[in-house]
């Protein structure tokens, strides 16, 4: 019996020595604890702004608020401060039926060449002289986030 034990002694020592060494090279760390104490509850992390929007749409939004919201409204409800002054009411970008009938190319063309170019109201001016094509693509991406298809 003593012989058997003696036979196991060396490998056991080797394991004991080597295993922790291996663990030391490991690249995983203990997981962060989430159970902050009561006082830590007031400590908050910065939250992402609009996590749902793609990067293009986010860029488009700032252009939308600057150029489009005047008539189309900040959220695309066609309620911008200048909307009541227009002979033809501005397009309601929150309307899923209307937005469903317009392809990306059509929307971009209206932005670029104005409403008159597609037989719509010329009160929608052409922005091709002001916005680059990437900016118009960004705007289109944002406009698509405004119309939420109703689930009824």
């Amino acid at each position: 019996m003593t012989r058997k034990l003696r036979g196991l002694r060396l490998p056991a020592i080797a394991l004991l020595v080597l295993l922790p060494a291996g663990a030391g090279w490991s690249e995983t760390k203990p997981p962060a604890t989430d159970n902050a104490a009561a006082r830590g509850k007031e400590f908050v992390l910065p939250q992402k702004h609009d996590p749902g929007l793609s990067r293009e749409a986010k860029r488009g939004r700032s252009q939308y608020e600057y150029y489009c919201a005047i008539c189309h409204g900040k959220r695309g409800d066609a309620d911008g401060f200048n909307a009541p002054n227009l002979r033809t009411p501005p397009a309601r970008h929150t309307d899923p039926i209307l937005m469903g009938t317009l392809s990306d190319a059509q929307i971009q063309r209206i932005i670029k060449e104005g409403g008159g170019a597609l037989g719509r109201s010329p009160q929608m001016p052409p922005w091709g002289g002001v916005l680059k094509s990437q900016e118009i693509a960004d705007l289109t991406a944002f406009i698509h986030t405004l119309a939420v298809p109703s689930k009824k």
């Binding site: 036979g7 060396l10 490998p11 080797a14 394991l15 080597l18 291996g22 090279w25 690249e27 760390k29 962060a32 604890t33 989430d34 902050a36 104490a37 006082r39 830590g40 007031e42 400590f43 908050v44 992390l45 910065p46 939250q47 992402k48 702004h49 793609s54 990067r55 293009e56 600057y66 150029y67 005047i70 008539c71 401060f81 200048n82 002054n85 227009l86 002979r87 104005g114 008159g116 109201s121 010329p122 009160q123 929608m124 001016p125 052409p126 922005w127 002289g129 002001v130």
Partner: protein, 654 residues
């Protein structure tokens, strides 16, 4: 013994193989394999896929002394196919302006560029201070190359910087190279200006009186507020007299003068001066009379213009303000109770409090010595090690313990980490706290080599008119709202080219009695009763100095146009309403949009050269105007100008 040896050798061999396998099978390989699958889905060719290079990838940016291995996992690089891919494969949005080849990643994003595991690269880790920056703070890095006055290019950084200096942070915190300005009004003989009971209530809760005040909240106790009040107003003055004047006429003057351009009343109106809704419960009438006669004599640095009021005007206006704009929520005996509380104050404690909280950082206070900044220096706060920031008793998970997170929480709740800290509460919104944090993080000793430096944004131009015109500009505080050659505010039109824009007759009439050109605006030029000789001098300066060659050189072209031809005007009218629908944004005779200026009287106001240049390219002077650019033909420009400049009959026409 032999068997032991064999077992042991096998164990060591196994262990060796295990380690080799682990070394081969690096954690990033799984990302690279997934990326290869995405590439295949995106239609990458077979030969390219077969030659896909597995392994660590590294960029050495010699100029910035950085080695970044981020692209080992962030594999989308600058590939447009991965613009909206999930992380870590999404491509970089600014491939054009900030190619990874020239900048790497960590110089802007932070993190440990050389690491190849998620935890080590993103941090925070034990010995690496710079965890990658949250996207909300990322603009801190723009200032490294572009300077801190980046304007619209980095709006969060710009806003943070503005808040930092506007709210008086510099009063208590040193930032090398930045001037310490006192952002609050000087406090001299304050007892002559305000009612003592108001001062006591103000100290306890400034936002109770002015919801949008810049004054932060120190959470003074009743006793502390009494101590400070008694120090500032040792003797209660004579009971306030009553202003003899016609409140009715005062009301008229208040609206004629358009005081609401700068002063809101219950939140409605401008925000340059304080809200006046409760001013009658704050001021002493004698002081208000003095102020209305000549504010510059009372507070030389004030933004308030001198309005040439007659003495009767001053009395009537004061009677109106003191009588009408009172705090209706005050209980009847409130003033008496507050005064009784103040009487129990302790002047010595008051002085100690003022010194402790550093009130002299924002206010010049009579009888209290300013001993300079009493807060920590922030010149290099962006470089500070997290171990030097106190978390007090607040338990925060280790992964959250980063400098940006600490600063952000400090901005949101300045006394979060320890009760009784000196820093007052500025009631920042989350966005404001983010902006200030972003600016603070940008304060660093880090330098980039000169080939990376590219200043952006508008720098103060230093335009400061002297002489007679300079005197008038200062008297009426024109540059609070108007901008001239890069100096001044953005509330009112830029006057840098006003001599080339408007006609003389119109300018003389307008300055004498300003009306509005933009129907939508609440803000309108105040009626300051500018004197005739001053008006003539302003006009002469505009004509001689504030002109632009691009406009003046058109006089020949415009001379050859048939702008007075009624036929041209008729064609122009058609273009205006039908083809281009200019009425979507511009009003004529009260019909049309309110985005651009009213054009009913454009012929009286604008010079033809200006109109023609504007129609050619509306962005010549104001690149950010919302006006669309039309490609008008030469003939159309002539016709449109003829129509715009023609007299238009209708009820809006004088």
């Amino acid at each position: 013994m032999k068997r032991t040896f064999v077992v042991l050798s096998l164990l060591i061999l196994l262990f060796l193989l295990w380690q080799i396998g682990r070394d081969y099978n690096r954690p990033y390989l799984s990302y690279q394999k997934a990326y290869k699958r995405l590439l295949a889905k995106a239609g990458e060719g077979e030969p390219e896929l077969a030659a896909f290079p597995f392994g660590a990838r590294q960029r050495w940016i010699v100029g910035l002394s950085r080695v970044d291995r981020c692209e080992t996992c962030h594999l989308g690089g600058e590939d447009p196919r991965f613009r909206d891919a999930r992380e870590p494969y999404r491509s970089h949005p600014d491939a054009d302006s900030h190619p990874a080849e020239n900048f790497g990643c960590s110089v802007c994003h932070g993190g440990q560029g050389m690491a190849t595991s998620l935890e080590d690269a993103h941090g925070p880790t034990e010995n690496w201070n710079r965890a990658i920056y949250h996207e909300n703070f990322l603009q801190k890095s723009c200032s490294l190359c572009h300077g801190e006055t980046v304007g619209e290019t980095a709006p969060v950084l710009a806003r943070g910087r503005e808040i930092f200096y506007d709210r008086g942070c510099r009063g208590c915190h040193k930032v090398e190279g930045k001037e310490r300005k006192k952002v609050g009004p000087p406090i001299r003989k304050i007892g002559e200006k305000v009612r003592t009971d108001w001062l006591y209530r103000w100290l306890r809760n400034p936002r109770g009186y002015l919801p949008k005040t810049r004054m932060p909240d120190f959470s003074f106790s009743a006793q502390e507020a009494a101590d400070i009040t008694l120090l500032l107003v040792p003797r209660e003055g004579a009971p306030a007299g009553v202003v003899s004047g016609s409140s009715e006429r005062g009301r008229l003057l208040f609206s004629e003068t358009r005081c609401v351009t700068c002063h809101a009343v219950e939140g409605k109106g401008g925000d340059i001066g304080p809200d006046l809704a409760k001013v009658g419960s704050k001021l002493r009438p004698e002081w208000l009379l003095k102020w209305l006669r000549n504010p510059h004599e009372v507070v030389p640095a004030t933004l308030m213009p001198i309005v040439n009021f007659a003495e009767a005007d001053v009395r009537d206006l004061a009677a109106f303000l003191m009588g009408e704009y009172v705090d209706l929520d005050l209980q009847e005996d409130q003033a008496a109770r507050d005064l009784a509380a103040v009487a129990k104050g302790n002047v010595r404690n008051g002085k100690a409090l003022i010194e402790k909280y550093g009130c002299t950082g924002c206010h010049e206070i009579e009888g209290v010595e300013d001993r300079g900044e009493n807060g920590s220096e922030l010149t290099r706060i962006g470089d500070i090690h997290i171990s030097r920031l106190e978390f007090g008793g607040v338990e925060v998970p280790r992964d959250w313990r980063t400098v940006p997170n600490w600063l952000y929480n400090k901005m949101r709740k300045p006394r979060l980490f320890k009760a009784g800290l000196k820093m007052p509460d500025y009631h920042f919104s989350d966005e404001e706290a983010e902006a200030v944090t972003t600016y603070l993080l940008s304060l660093t000793a880090e330098k980039v080599p000169s080939q990376y430096i590219l200043p952006l944004g508008e720098r103060p131009s230093g335009y400061d008119p002297q002489g007679e015109f300079g005197g008038v500009v200062k008297k009426y505080r024109c540059l609070v709202c108007h901008r001239i050659r890069g100096s001044g505010g953005a509330l009112a039109p830029d006057l840098s080219w006003e001599g080339s824009r408007v006609r003389k007759d119109w300018l003389l009439t307008f300055l004498a009695k300003p009306d509005t050109i933009r129907p939508i605006l609440v803000e309108r030029m105040p009626q300051m009763k500018i004197r005739d000789e001053e008006i003539r001098m302003i006009d002469a300066y505009f004509r001689a100095t504030l002109v632009d060659d691009k406009v003046e050189s058109l006089s020949g072209t415009v001379g050859g146009m048939h702008l007075a031809d009624p036929e041209a005007a008729r064609r122009g009218k058609q273009l205006y309403f039908e083809k281009y629908a200019c009425d979507a944004c511009h009003q004529i005779n009260l019909k049309g949009g309110t985005v651009g200026p009213d054009l009913t009287k454009a012929g009286k106001r604008l010079r033809p050269e200006w109109v023609v240049l504007w129609l050619r390219n509306p962005k010549t002077f104001l690149p950010r105007s919302v006006e669309p650019v039309y490609a008008f033909q030469q003939k159309e420009i002539e016709d449109l100008a003829a129509f715009v400049l023609s007299p238009k009959a209708g009820k809006g026409t004088p």
